[in-house]
Symmetry: C2
Subunit: 121 residues, 2 copies
């Protein structure tokens, strides 16, 4: 059902937690299952220098967020904005079609965190 | 958002795994989120003497299944059949309304396992 990369990121998720003095915080909710995702970013010179996530979502949500944070880390704000949930799913070696909605959570929460960062400037 | 009992069962879920020589196996899928739950039971003298579950579902699904397996353990087949997802949610000190659908997974998978056991007799 799940690729080896999904299982790895589900069992050893990267960048879990929160950033107390974050420069931007984003939250996204999934209307389909009711799960919530929170993303915290630290920004320096227009680059994302730290990112963490928190969720009580399912295995696919955890793996997608873990992979998304890895893809976003070190990128410029604009590059980070353009990382889609399809790119995350591809980096995970695919997700079951019925679980694609879980990967959208990470993308939306990252956009929320970037918007929050921009608002604060 | 979540009660202390939910957090405890989510972080230290009871009876996770599978039973190789199970007397009954049940599977349930959640159309709302696409998550799947599997329940394995061992039966002796009409009593459930062992029960294990496996899921990639969310925190609420894990906590509900963990609590459900504890409530079912040692019960007669009939008593186990009558343990509803509302009873499980009550034992958890409540679930957010939007997450009640997750607790249904455990009830359905337990019913599936009992039906499978009966078919094999
Ligand atoms: S959201 Fe899928 S089981 Fe909870």
């Amino acid at each position: 059902l799940y690729s080896e990369i999904v299982m790895d990121h589900f069992q050893n998720p990267r960048n879990v937690g929160e950033i107390k003095d974050a420069d931007g915080v984003g939250e996204a909710g999934n209307p389909r299952c009711g799960d919530i995702m929170k993303i915290y970013i630290k920004v320096e010179n227009d680059h994302i220098v730290d990112i963490k996530f928190k969720t009580f979502g399912c295995a696919s949500a955890i793996a997608s967020s873990s992979m998304a944070t890895e893809l976003v880390m070190g990128k410029t704000i604009e590059e980070a904005w353009n990382i889609t949930n399809s790119a995350v799913a591809k980096a995970l070696d695919g997700l079951p079609p019925i679980k694609m909605h879980c990967s959208v959570l990470a993308e939306e929460a990252i956009h929320g965190a970037i918007n929050d960062y921009r608002r604060r400037q």
